[in-house]
Structure formats: C-alpha cells, structure tokens
C-alpha cells in the first residue's frame, strides 16, 4: 500500500464514509408502484415454482 496516497484523487462520493451514508427512499410514481406490485405478485408465483422445481428434481435424482 502506498502510505502517501493522496485522497484528493477520489471524488467526494467515492470515500468509503460517504458511500455508507444512505440515500433517501425514491418517491415512486403511480406507474412504478403498480409495476412493483405486479412484480411482487410475479415473485409470489415464481418462488413456489422454484421450491417445486427443487423438490421435483430431488425426487428424480
């Protein structure tokens, strides 16, 4: 490691302390909210399919 490394070579947001500061939650439009709701429904269908696939494959192996 170079002990004389100049931290000014980094952009302000690049410092690890800066990246640990959380960003605010995004204000979601109605369209995005609707999309995320649909995505949750998709996930609710997809996750049991994954579990079924694993159990089914276990039976076949």
């Amino acid at each position: 490691m170079d002990p004389t490394a100049d931290l000014s070579a980094l952009e302000p947001g690049q410092l690890s302390a800066d990246t640990r500061k959380p960003l605010p939650r995004r204000k979601l439009s109605r369209g995005v909210v609707a999309l995320l709701v649909l995505l949750r429904i998709y996930v609710l269908i997809a996750v049991p399919l994954v579990v079924y696939a694993f159990v089914h494959a276990l039976g076949g192996s």
Partner: protein, 456 residues
C-alpha cells in the same frame, strides 16, 4: 485545467477523517495512476488501467454450465443458426451490463445497496436473498465443472475441488481489488482454450461465415428441444449475478464519470471475447453433430471431452476439458465476490476487496463460507447435484425479470443518475431487451419445471 487537477477538490469541503481508511488509500493510489495516464494521453495505458469489470463479468458468465449449454447446442444442431444467435445474446448482455457501468460511476454504490436504499427493505432483502441463494447453488455447479474437468485428467474429486477452493481463497488473500482483478483476468485468458479446441475440429470457415451472415442452416424441426436450447443459450449469457457483480466491481475499482467510455469499451471487449469463446465451444462440439452422437445423457463437460477425443484428438479434447475447469474456476471467483458484495451492501457492512480481513469480516466470510459449502456439497457422496443444477437454472431464469426491471428503474432514476440516466433510445433498446429476456427467462423456468409442456 489538466485532468489530474480536475480530480482534485477542496479538502475543506470534506468531513475531517482522522486516519485515511485502507480502502480509500488503495483506491486513491489507483485513481492517481489513472489520472497520470489520462494526463499523459496514453490511450492504451488508460484502457489497460480501467478495463476489468466488463471482461470479468462476460468471461465469468462463460461458466461451466454455460459451456456445457454451448457444447450441447453444437452437438445437437451443429453451427448454423446458433453461431449468430450467440452473438445476438452477447449484444443483449452488453446493453444490460452497460447500464450497470453508468449506475456505478454515477452513484459509487453497489446494485444491492441502491435497490435497498431506493426501493426499501422488501426489494433489498429479496434481491440479496435471491442472489446469495442462487449464487450458492451456481457455485455448486461450478465445482461440479471443476471436478468433472479434473476427472478427465485422472484427478480425484477431493483434489480438484480442494485446489479450486484454495485458488478462490488465495485470490481473496490479496486484500487488494487491483491485484484480485488482474489475477482473474490472467485466468480468464483460459476461456480462449476453446478456440484451439475448435481448430482441432477442423471447422469449415466458409460454412461458419455463411452461418453468421445468413443465420442458417436452420434446424429441420424447431420443436420443444430447439426452443429449450434457444432459451438455455439466453440463460447462459444474461443472469442476475452479472448485474450485481459488475456494478459493485466498477465501484470498488473506483471508476468515475470520466471513465465511462473505457468502462463501455471494457464491457464491449468482454462481450466480444466471451462470444468468440462461446462460438468456439459450439464449433468444437459440432463433430458430435456430424457423428450423430446422442448427447442427451451427458451430464458434464468431461462427458463432452471424452466423446470428442476420437473426433478431435487427445490434444483437442484435453484443451476442452481444461477450458471447462477454467470456466468453473473463474466463475467461482467472480460469483463468490458477487455474493459478498450483495450481502455486505444490504447488511450495511464494509464491502470492498481492498479491505483487510478485520474490517471486512462479513464481506470475506460470505465468499469463504459459500465456497466451502459449495465445494463440500460436491464432495458429499449421493448429494442431489442434478436437483441443484436444475434449480439453479430455474432461479436464474425465473427471477431474471425482477432483477432486470429493478435495473431499468434505477437507470431511469434521475435523482441519482443525473445526466447519465437512460435516454429514450436507451430505454427503447434496454426495455425491449429486458422484456424479451424476462419473458424468455420466465418461459425457460416454466419449461424446466414442466419439461413436457412444449412437447419434444
């Protein structure tokens, strides 16, 4: 004003830091090298310093199971339609991955971290759990590839899996992103072992050129088996871990907005080299198509190497088997890192390959534990490896839709992206590809669960 001076800014504007952190000092040293190269006008040197994440993500996705998919395709349908199709899938992968480069340079935050902070805990924990579980199962398949390739050379499973795990641990021991990245890039060159293997198959250059130009000859029947291979080839090129890995690697490397052209070039180069290796695998396995070999019962890359030996010779088959080991090993290293980044980002823990072990306990523990578990599972006699391999496909493809839609939403988030947010053209190209990959992924997942749905 020089580029070096552009990077400097008023220190007084920063919160005072009593002791610069190791992670920051190492990244700053890398950035100074980049600034000097940019100031001196050396384009090749600048590209060399800035490339890495794109090459690694694309060649990392050419993993053990993907190479088996390409080999199965070549052995089942020959070169025809699938050579240009593979090029198309890598072009799609480029469009998706380019968004992660922009997100990384604009926000200096990892993908899991952004999802958690911008969309809340549900999507943050979901993305992390989906990725870490999917990656763990994928790691199992990588160690299966390493074990299978080793078996071809007479290496016992415990030795090849043990050596694979040791290589993963050794790369983490650098505790230095730049060294880790360069070591992996050297290993990634091994992906091109499939090119000489393909040459041993004495391919018809004119037929390959014709295939690339005309997308033909098309297979005589395009039933369920054909569609399944089309979907498998898409699944072999674009997967959720790539999105998370490249954004985190771009951030860890310290790329900035000024580096975006090189970041894009790095991604494009990665896509081109990976496409060459993938098409070479297709070509190397195509003698099995000419010989009407039945590959439906082949379980690993080693089966292909063994079957190819009488057709492309011992040297060609050995290169093929070695390529499978390399593919599994490189993917194990990138995927383990991807899990570490995502887990630590969502857990608000330190996350960088520049950390020392004490500061990055959780970060390194995730990579080490997932490697140990995956390697250990492969060595358990009677472990349900086939079930895990099938489940990996289902997780990766079914859950591609949420990963890509969240990526598209983030790339359109002007509050964090500013001028780097998706343009209309980006959204048109990205949107079409995201919808196509999501539908294809969901379809492939359903076909994997219900294999008789489409018929034969």
């Amino acid at each position: 004003m020089s580029d070096v001076s552009l990077l400097r800014h008023d220190d007084a504007a920063r919160a005072p830091a009593p002791e610069p952190e190791r992670e920051d000092r190492l990244r700053a040293a890398d950035r100074l090298r980049v600034a000097k190269a940019r100031a001196s006008g050396g384009r090749a040197r600048l590209l060399w310093l800035l490339c890495g994440p794109g090459l690694l993500v694309m060649l990392g996705e050419n993993d053990g199971p993907s190479m088996v998919s390409y080999a199965t395709t070549g052995a089942t349908y020959g070169v025809g339609f699938f050579a240009p199709f593979i090029l198309l899938t890598f072009a799609m992968a480029f469009v998706v991955q380019e968004m992660t480069v922009r997100l990384g340079v604009a926000t200096h935050r990892g993908h899991a971290q952004l999802i958690f902070q911008r969309f809340g805990p549900f999507w943050g924990y979901f993305a992390m759990a989906d990725l870490v579980i999917g990656n763990l199962l994928t790691l199992v398949t990588e160690f299966i590839a390493i074990q299978a390739g080793g078996l071809y050379f007479g290496c016992p499973p415990w030795a090849s899996v043990g050596m694979g795990a040791l290589v993963v641990f050794a790369s983490l021991a650098f505790r230095r992103y730049a060294a880790w990245e360069r070591a992996l890039m050297a290993l990634a060159l091994g992906n091109l072992l499939f090119v000489p293997a393909a040459l041993f198959a004495h391919p018809d250059g004119a037929a390959l050129a014709r295939a690339l130009a005309t997308w033909g000859p098309l297979p005589p029947t395009m039933g369920g088996a054909f569609l399944t291979l089309v979907l498998a080839n898409v699944g072999a090129t674009v997967t959720p871990w790539m999105v998370f890995f490249q954004q985190s690697a771009v951030v860890d490397k310290g790329l900035t907005r000024a580096d975006l052209p090189q970041g894009r070039l790095d991604t494009a180069l990665g896509a081109i080299v990976a496409a060459i290796a993938a098409i070479a695998t297709l070509v190397a396995a195509s003698p099995l198509f000419s010989a009407h070999a039945d590959v439906s019962q082949f379980a690993s890359g080693a089966d292909f190497a063994t079957a190819l030996q009488p057709l492309i010779g011992k040297a060609g088959a050995s290169l093929f088997a070695l390529g499978i080991v390399e593919a599994g090993l490189l993917a194990a290293m990138t995927i383990a890192a991807s899990s570490s980044y995502a887990f630590a980002e969502v857990a608000s823990a330190r996350h960088s390959l520049n950390l020392d072990f004490r500061s990055g306990k959780l970060f390194f523990a995730v990579a080490i534990m997932s490697t140990l578990i995956a390697g250990g599972v492969v060595l358990i006699p009677g472990a349900p490896l086939l079930a895990m391999t099938l489940t990996v496909n289902v997780i990766a493809t079914l859950l591609m839709a949420p990963a890509l839609l969240l990526l598209l939403l983030l790339a359109n988030d002007r509050e964090i992206m500013g001028g780097l947010a998706n343009s209309r053209l980006d959204n048109l190209a990205g949107g079409v590809i995201v919808i196509a990959i999501s539908v294809i992924g969901a379809l492939y997942g359903v076909i994997t669960v219900f294999p008789d749905w489409l018929g034969k």
